[in-house]
Symmetry: C2
Subunit: 525 residues, 2 copies
């Protein structure tokens, strides 16, 4: 796999066509369990797709995917930050249930930097574990982010294969105070970011590697006639953003747009392979992102379209995600469904597609979206969307209404250092820099009339009272029933960083960890 | 025509199909000059189309039109207000040249309310006048807005037919201090808004009337085998917004979205008729809007997508417009062209399509877009876009860069009364409430990386200096060469209002005007 980095585009593409033509004539696509591909982007915003309004129109393949499938404009993440969002997707449960949150301070987003001690709890049952009941072969390509200590890695949690990294690709580091993040092939590291896997001046061929890994996996499983889960999670749109030489300078947006164009190309190649192999009618593909665009990155970040603020916040820009479902012959082409849905539904829906009963011993927050996807139904319209920030229920959406029980962008202290999650936007009493408690009188918006959360409904109006009386019992019941999981993201320790990942000996790349000195992680946002 | 109001939907639709089937078999669509249809919306924003990112996805017909034609994401109006924008479209010239501006105060938008004394100058040559050289028959349906005194009306300015109103549909008035705005059929009034043409509680069938007027005209000209210009300018998305009963409550956005859905339906019906008649390959259709969404209307206004501010301003939200060009067999389907273009190009392009030379005795600001439209070329990429507010050149775009020479949203005085053209948005030093003069050091944005005009390029950067050195000679030359027209929007007089339009005697609807007391109009924005 690693050697693929060396292949030129034309070589790998020729290879690809030779292989795909071969399998086209040899594949029997009948009576097999449907394959599942979840494409999860990193920090890509709702407004980054052409079909969702990006003025530079960088995504012809995603736009075509939407035209061939279903667009879900009301699709959400479970948390406005990477790790909890990904944990929610793979467990079907809110981070506050699966433990991917912190109690170190009130309403703080936490994730899995290299110093995090915790990771995904052994008590959680991840999607690939469930899919094993029907002999699915599962691979994750790209970013894991559910804990990087050995017991938390993908192959210990149900995945058969992995090519990618456990953490964000921050760096470069000098390997003294902090190691560069390792890249794994299955259970062993095969190098580190900025070393064997270069990211130089925002140029890197990592997306191409991740694409080839995905295509190769699809080919192998198709040949083996095994149903598969491909969890394709490239990270090129997460800062520091990067693109490969072929895409550099191709967009109108600088490197961020270049990265989007390369990912869009990757999506197109994957769908093309499915068609070439004749398995498009037997493969459910879902495209989305882990959280809103990181507006803090300024012109290096993405777009949340008409929505308020971005990543880290529980405004629409932080948690509404681009979402396209694609399954020719099963999902109606060019359909738009306004069902409120979220990443946790991908767990439940994938199980339903595979014909596997969901675990009955725990609360699942995901719903089975197959009636929506396969019949374009709106039967699930009344389900709420919960917007958590750490341990706090910040807001709830039900139908077109959203009630903010707490508002916060970031602290004055942080804001004054130039950290701004809502640049160019300011809604008085809403994009607050103090944590404002509105639980007795929530700030309510109608997201149909006011997708940008600019015009709070008057608390004196009948509409407000009606909405509140609908929301209150639902929210109270949710909070009454909620049993938080043990928080996994409270403790940090420099000793747990990626000093000596499995496989480092063979490469001569083991580093010596410092002594263990755990502390309570500081989560400012 | 008027009696069509009484027809039920099903009746008029059946009639429509009968007629269209008849003509389908009787129309010879060869060797005829191309027909031209310009669909101009009122206060509809760039972000109001599904294909441009409106989350409620209310425009399946426009989205399909884009899929069958060309999307122009960089299309502009000539002024962020109705009348000057429309005057620019029909003359091919900037308002500051054609006289549709004021010198009463610095950098003020002016338009044609009922008390305006002026209108379109006799020195201007309007598009339908030019098209007469090739025997085009021209009709305007909907809002005129180029002056309502007799000499300024459409049939005195080249149009053969008109069904619509000279001014905005504000009201209702009691006809004592101010008359209700008349609705004309050709050169005579046939009633008034809120009287014969009802708008009650934001319900009105006016869009249906305007649709039937358009369909009827297309049918008649096709039967007569005459090339035609249809300028279809319904006003349902201008406040007070309205929709007909069939569309009320159909959108997720309230009445504004209902109006969008009805207009989208109208677009679909017009394109369907062209196809039914077999003249789609011989009809150039262009869809756009007169200025950005009126954000001042809050949840009753439209969306400018990711752009800054709205109507009245020279930020992108005020002047970037949705734009789709459609001409099956001539314009490549599903194409996106980033050419910088504007409403004045519609004048020049229409003449080119009709094979008529543009007037050679005056400066035209429109370019011939046929290379862009017909060959998907980008040969005109270097042309500037000028953003005027009244008599002041506020900003210029060239390529991806936009330089603001003046910034202003509205005055503190107005802002404090609750008038806000940028609700929820605030970019320090940019969305200013004083008229800020940046001519010596313009505020420069890169609209590819930063479509929302949030991140001014540092004046200390090389990029800034390079951009400035490109802009300066072009802007200086433009200003040096510019010969402003005689301003038409300076004087107001209650005596000139629509008291006794032609035709009022027959209807017994003449009102007595007050004595003439002209004054210099006050334009606050």
């Amino acid at each position: 796999m690693l050697t693929m980095r060396g292949l030129s585009f034309s070589t790998s593409l020729s290879l690809f066509y030779v292989i795909s033509c071969f399998y086209l004539t040899n594949t029997v696509a009948t009576a097999r369990l449907p394959n599942i591909i979840i494409m999860l982007m990193d920090d890509m915003g709702w407004g980054d797709l052409g079909v969702l309004g990006q003025p530079s129109k960088e995504t012809p393949n995603l736009d075509a995917m939407a035209a061939q499938g279903m667009l879900l404009p009301n699709f959400y993440t479970a948390n406005p930050l990477c790790s909890p969002s990904r944990a929610a997707l793979l467990t079907g449960r809110l981070p506050v249930r699966n433990g991917f949150y912190t109690t170190n301070a009130h309403a703080r987003n936490a994730y899995t930097p290299q110093e995090i001690v915790g990771g995904i709890s052994k008590d959680e049952i991840l999607l690939p574990v469930m899919l094993k009941k029907k002999d699915y072969v599962s691979k994750i390509v790209g970013k894991w982010h559910l804990g990087h200590r050995p017991q938390y890695l993908p192959l210990k949690n149900g995945f058969d294969e992995w090519f990618g990294a456990p953490n964000c690709h921050f760096g470069p580091y000098n390997n003294t105070n902090r190691p560069n993040v390792p890249v794994y092939n299955n259970s062993e590291m095969v190098g580190r970011y900025y070393e064997e896997f270069e990211i130089n001046n925002a140029e890197s061929n990592l997306t191409q590697i991740y694409l080839q890994e995905g295509l190769d996996f699809i080919l192998r499983q198709t040949r083996a006639q095994k149903p598969f889960l491909l969890y394709w999670a490239p990270d090129a749109t997460h800062g520091p953003v990067y693109a490969s030489k072929r895409f550099i300078g191709k967009s109108q947006r600088g490197r961020y747009g270049d990265a989007v164009m390369e990912l869009d190309y990757g999506v197109g190649q994957i769908l093309l392979l499915l068609k070439s192999l004749g398995i498009d009618n037997n493969t459910f593909v879902f495209f989305t992102s882990d959280n809103g665009a990181a507006l803090i990155s300024g012109t290096q970040g993405g777009s949340n379209g008409p929505f308020l603020c971005g990543k880290e916040t529980t405004f629409e820009g932080g948690m509404r995600e681009p979402a396209i479902a694609w399954w020719p012959g099963h999902i109606k082409e060019s359909s738009v469904n306004f069902q409120l849905s979220n990443v946790m539904d991908l767990y439940t829906t994938s199980l339903a597609i595979a014909g596997i009963s969901a675990p009955g011993d725990r609360v699942l927050d995901g719903l089975d979206l197959t009636p929506v996807l396969l019949n374009n139904s709106s039967s699930l319209k009344d389900r709420p969307i919960y917007y958590y920030r750490g341990n706090e229920l910040m807001a709830v959406r039900l139908g077109q209404y959203k009630a903010h029980y707490w508002t916060w962008s970031n602290s004055w202290e942080q804001f004054k250092t130039g950290i701004n999650f809502c640049p160019g936007q300011e809604v008085p009493g809403v994009t607050t820099h103090d944590q404002m408690n509105h639980t007795l009188q929530p700030v309510i918006f109608h997201l149909g009339r006011d997708p940008g959360e600019k015009y709070p409904i008057s608390v004196l109006s009948k509409e407000y009272m009606d909405v509140l009386s609908t929301f209150t019992p639902i929210v109270q019941q949710h909070q009454k029933d909620l049993i938080p999981g043990v928080p996994q993201l409270n403790m940090c320790d420099l000793a747990v960083m990626n000093w000596a990942p499995e496989g480092c000996e063979k490469l001569g790349k083991c580093l010596k960890p410092p002594d263990s000195k755990p502390w309570k992680c500081f989560w400012p946002h």
